[in-house]
C-alpha cells in the first residue's frame, strides 16, 4: 500500500505541534464561522486567507489552516439550523427540518450532539474516500490532453449553477464577469498585453486572491454596516443531554449511508454539499419509511444530512486536488490559495508536493477528531458566541483582510483594488448575482482558453480534435447533461428542498 506510506508521511507533517495548533485554530474558527448565519464556508475560507499571508505561514500550514476552517464551517452550519431554524450555510438547510423540531421538544442538546457525531462519521467516510480515490484519479489525469481538459472545464462551467441553482441566467452573468476580469494581463499563448492600458500593475493580471477577499470579506462588512446589527441574539438554552447509547447505535446505518452518498455527490461536479445533504435526507426517509417521524424531530433526520454534507465536503476536494477543477465554491477558493502558493493542482502535485497533499489529507482526519472533541463539550460555548454582537467580529475581519493583502505585495494599489471588489461584491449580492461563479470564471477562464489554444495548435487548427477522443466525448455528454438537467429535475428538487423551509438562507 503505497498510499498508506504517503498518508503516514502526511501525518508526520500534520502532527507537528505548529501545524496541529493551526488545525485546531482553523477548526475552532471554522465552526464559529459556520454557525453564524450568512457566513458560509466559502466566505470563511476567504476571510482566513489574508491571515495566512499575514502570519507568513509555509504552504502546508496555510493549507492545513484553510482546510480545517472548511471542515469546521461544515460542522458549524448545523448549530444555528438546530437552534434558530436558520441554516448557517446552504448545506445545513436540510438539518433544519428535523433539528429545529427536536430543539423545540427540548432535545436541542441531543440534536447538537448527535449531529456532531454524524458530521464526524460523514467527514471520516468522505476523507477515506478521498484517500482511496484521489491518487487513482491523479494518475488517470496524466492521460488528459488539452482537448480533454477543455471539455472538463466546459463541464465545470456547465454544471456551475448546480442542479439546485436558482437562477441560471444570473449564474451565467456572474461566470462571464469572472472570465472578463481574467482576460486582463499578458495572454500567455500570444505574449501580448490585453486590457492593461499601459498600467504596470495590471500587466500580470488581477490577482484572484484580491478578488476573493474583496468580494467575500469586504462585501460582508458592507452588509454589516448597512444593517447595523448592533445587538446579538438572545441567549439560548440548550438543555441537558439525554441521548442514549441505544439511540446512537440505531443511527449508525444512517451515518454510513449519508456519508457515502454525500461523498459521491461531492465528487460530482456541480452537485456539492447541498445536494449531498438533500439526497441523504431523502434516501433516509425512503429507507425508514413510515416508521420514522421525519419533519417532527426524528433523530435520523438530523443524522442523515449532517453525515451527507460533511462527506460531500471531503468529496469536493477530489476533483480540485487531482484535476484542478473545483467541485464547489469553497474548493474554488481553496484552489485559488493553492495557485497563489505556487502549487499547481493535478497529477504533478501528488508527486512534487506530496508533503502538502498528504499533510492536508491527514489534517482533515485529525481535524475531524478535533472537531468532534470541540463540538461535544464546547457546544455551549459556540451557542454563546451566537449571541455575540457582530460589531465586535467584523472589524477584526476587516483589519485582517487589509493587513493580509498588504503583506502579500506591499502595494497600496492592491488595497484599492480589494476595496473596489468589495463594493462590486456588495452590489452584486444586492442584485442576487452569486459570487462563486465569478471566482470560478476568474480561475478557470484562462485555463480553458489556454487549453483550447493548445488543442488547436496540436491539431493544426482542426476543431474536431475537441471531441475526437472517447474521454473528451464523454465529458461533452456529461456537460450537456449538466446544462439540461437543472431544467428538468431542478425545479422538482428545489420545491422539495424548500417545502419545509421558512427562511431562505443566504447562498454561499
Amino acid at each position: 500500500m503505497e498510499t498508506l506510506g504517503f498518508l503516514m508521511d502526511g501525518f508526520a507533517v500534520a502532527l507537528t505541534p505548529y501545524n496541529l495548533m493551526f488545525a485546531l485554530f482553523g477548526a475552532f474558527v471554522g465552526t464559529l464561522i459556520g454557525c453564524l448565519p450568512g457566513l458560509g464556508p466559502a466566505n470563511g475560507v476567504a476571510i482566513l486567507i489574508p491571515l495566512a499571508f499575514t502570519l507568513g505561514l509555509p504552504p502546508e500550514t496555510a493549507m492545513i489552516l484553510l482546510t480545517a476552517v472548511y471542515a469546521g464551517a461544515m460542522y458549524g452550519g448545523r448549530i444555528s439550523s438546530i437552534l434558530l431554524n436558520i441554516p448557517g450555510d446552504e448545506p445545513a438547510m436540510m438539518t433544519c427540518l428535523d433539528g429545529y423540531p427536536m430543539a423545540q421538544k427540548g432535545r436541542a442538546a441531543d440534536a447538537l450532539a448527535v449531529s456532531a457525531i454524524a458530521s464526524f462519521a460523514g467527514g471520516l467516510i468522505g476523507t477515506i474516500g478521498l484517500i482511496m480515490l484521489a491518487p487513482v484519479l491523479a494518475k488517470f489525469a496524466l492521460t488528459f490532453g488539452p482537448a480533454e481538459y477543455f471539455a472538463l472545464f466546459l463541464l465545470a462551467f456547465a454544471t456551475l449553477g448546480g442542479i439546485t441553482g436558482k437562477n441560471p441566467m444570473k449564474t451565467v452573468v456572474a461566470a462571464t464577469l469572472g472570465i472578463m476580469i481574467s482576460t486582463v494581463g499578458i495572454d500567455i499563448s500570444t505574449g501580448t498585453q490585453r486590457y492593461t492600458f499601459g498600467v504596470l500593475e495590471l500587466y500580470e493580471g488581477i490577482d484572484f486572491i484580491l478578488a476573493i477577499v474583496g468580494l467575500f470579506a469586504i462585501s460582508e462588512l458592507l452588509f454589516f454596516v448597512e444593517s447595523r446589527m448592533g445587538r446579538g441574539r438572545d441567549k439560548m438554552n440548550v438543555g441537558k443531554l439525554t441521548l442514549t447509547m441505544k439511540e446512537l447505535v440505531m443511527t449508525i446505518p444512517t451515518q454510513l449511508r449519508g456519508g457515502v452518498l454525500g461523498f459521491i455527490s461531492g465528487v460530482l461536479p456541480g452537485a456539492g454539499a447541498s445536494l449531498g445533504s438533500f439526497i441523504s435526507y431523502t434516501l433516509e426517509k425512503q429507507v425508514v419509511g413510515k416508521k420514522g417521524k421525519f419533519g417532527e424531530g426524528d433523530i435520523r433526520g438530523v443524522v442523515a444530512p449532517e453525515a451527507g454534507n460533511n462527506g460531500a465536503s471531503s468529496g469536493a476536494l477530489v476533483p480540485m486536488l487531482t484535476l484542478g477543477v473545483p467541485g464547489s465554491g469553497t474548493t474554488a477558493v481553496l484552489l485559488a490559495m493553492l495557485i497563489s502558493l505556487n502549487i499547481t493542482p493535478g497529477p504533478l502535485m501528488f508527486t512534487q508536493n506530496a508533503d502538502i497533499v498528504w499533510g492536508v489529507i491527514a489534517a482533515l482526519l485529525i481535524g475531524n477528531v478535533l472537531l468532534l472533541v470541540l463540538n461535544i463539550p464546547l457546544v455551549g460555548f459556540f451557542v454563546k458566541l451566537l449571541s455575540v454582537p457582530p460589531m465586535y467580529l467584523l472589524p477584526i475581519v476587516t483589519m485582517v483582510a487589509f493587513v493580509g493583502i498588504y503583506s502579500i505585495s506591499h502595494s497600496t494599489f492592491d488595497l484599492y483594488f480589494m476595496v473596489a471588489f468589495g463594493v462590486a461584491g456588495y452590489f452584486l449580492r444586492k442584485l442576487d448575482i452569486p459570487l462563486v461563479p465569478i471566482i470560478l470564471g476568474l480561475l478557470l477562464g484562462p485555463e480553458m482558453e489556454k487549453n483550447l489554444g493548445h488543442a488547436l495548435v496540436l491539431s493544426d487548427g482542426d476543431w474536431s480534435v475537441l471531441w475526437a477522443s472517447p474521454l473528451a466525448m464523454g465529458l461533452w455528454i456529461v456537460a450537456s447533461l449538466g446544462l439540461i438537467l437543472p431544467y428538468l429535475i431542478g425545479p422538482l428538487l428545489r420545491r422539495r428542498m424548500n417545502a419545509a423551509m421558512k427562511e431562505s438562507p443566504v447562498s454561499d
Binding site: F144, P146, I186, S189, G198, L200, E201, Y203, E204, V457
Partner: protein, 325 residues
Amino acid sequence: MIIKRTLSFVAAAAVSMSAMAWQPSGKVECLAPADPGGGWDFTCRSVGNVLQDLGLVDGSVQTVNMAGAGGGVAYAHTVSKRAEDNKLLVAASTATTTRLAQKQFPGMNADMVTWVGALGADYGIIAVGKDSEYQNLSELMAALKANPKSVKFAGGSARGGWDHLKVLIAAKAAGADKLPSIPYLSYNNGGEAMSQVVGGQVDAFTGDISEATGFLESGDLRVVAVLAEERLPGKFSHLPTAKEQGIDAVGPNWRGFYMPKGASEEAKSYWVEAVDTLYASDEWKKVMKSNGLIPFHPPASQFDEFVRNQVQDIENLSREIGLLK
C-alpha cells in the same frame, strides 16, 4: 563661475577621498520584484544572508518584495524613485532581460540601470518523454528542419518568453528556418508543461534543468540536450550538451542584480566587488549546491556587455518570430 567650479572640484575630491573606504552603513535593501517564494525572492534572501555572514554589510539586508508586471514595477521604481540610492540591490535574471528586449517595460531599457553581476545560473534543457522517437537533439532538429510543425514544444513561459526562446535559439543554431511556425504551447509553469510531455500529449519539453530533476530521476523524461557551454557538474554530468552534438546553442538563466544608475561610482564598484567576493566564498558555494544553481559568473568587466548582448539577441529573435514589430 570659477568659484562654483572650484567648489564642485573640492566636493568631488572630498567624495573620492571618502570613497576609498565607502562601505554601506545601516540597512541595505534588496528588492525582489515578485511575491515571496519565487526565484528572485530566493536570490535576495540567500544573498542577504551570505553578505551578512561574510561581513560585507555591517547592518542587515532587508528583502522587500515588489511584485508586478514581471519585474516591471520594481524596474520603474528603481529608475524613477530610487535613482541615486547607494544601498539598493534589485534581483534580476534572464526573465528581466527578456522583458527588456521585448519592450515589455514601457519606456524603459537596459541602459537605465547598472548591472552589478551574476551569481550562478540554471541552464536550459530540451527533453522528450521516455518513449519518444527522438534519441538526441540532432534527430529532433532534423525533423524540425524537414517540417517545422513536426515537433511540438511545451514550456512554462508565455509565448516569446524565455522557455520559448530557448527552442528558437537551438533551432536557429541548427539551421532550421521558419522559426515562427514551430508550435509552442505555453503553460503556467514548467511542471504543468512537463506532465503533458510525460503523458505523451506534447512532443518535447523546454525548460530549466532545476525544474526537471524529479522526472529525470523517475526516468519519465529524457534530456536530449543541455544548453550550456560544457557539461553540467555532479549528477547532471551524463547529460549531453547541444554543443557536443554540433549545435551551438547556449541558454543560461542567470541570477544576479542590478542597481540604480545614479548611485555613486564608489558604491557601484563596492557592490561589484562584494558580489565577486560573495561568489568566491564557500558559504555561497554551499547555497548554490543545495539549490541546484550551476556556476555562472562573467567577470565584472564583462557582465554589462553580457547583459547588453543577451538583450540584443533576444530582441533580434523576437523580431524574427514577429513578436516585436
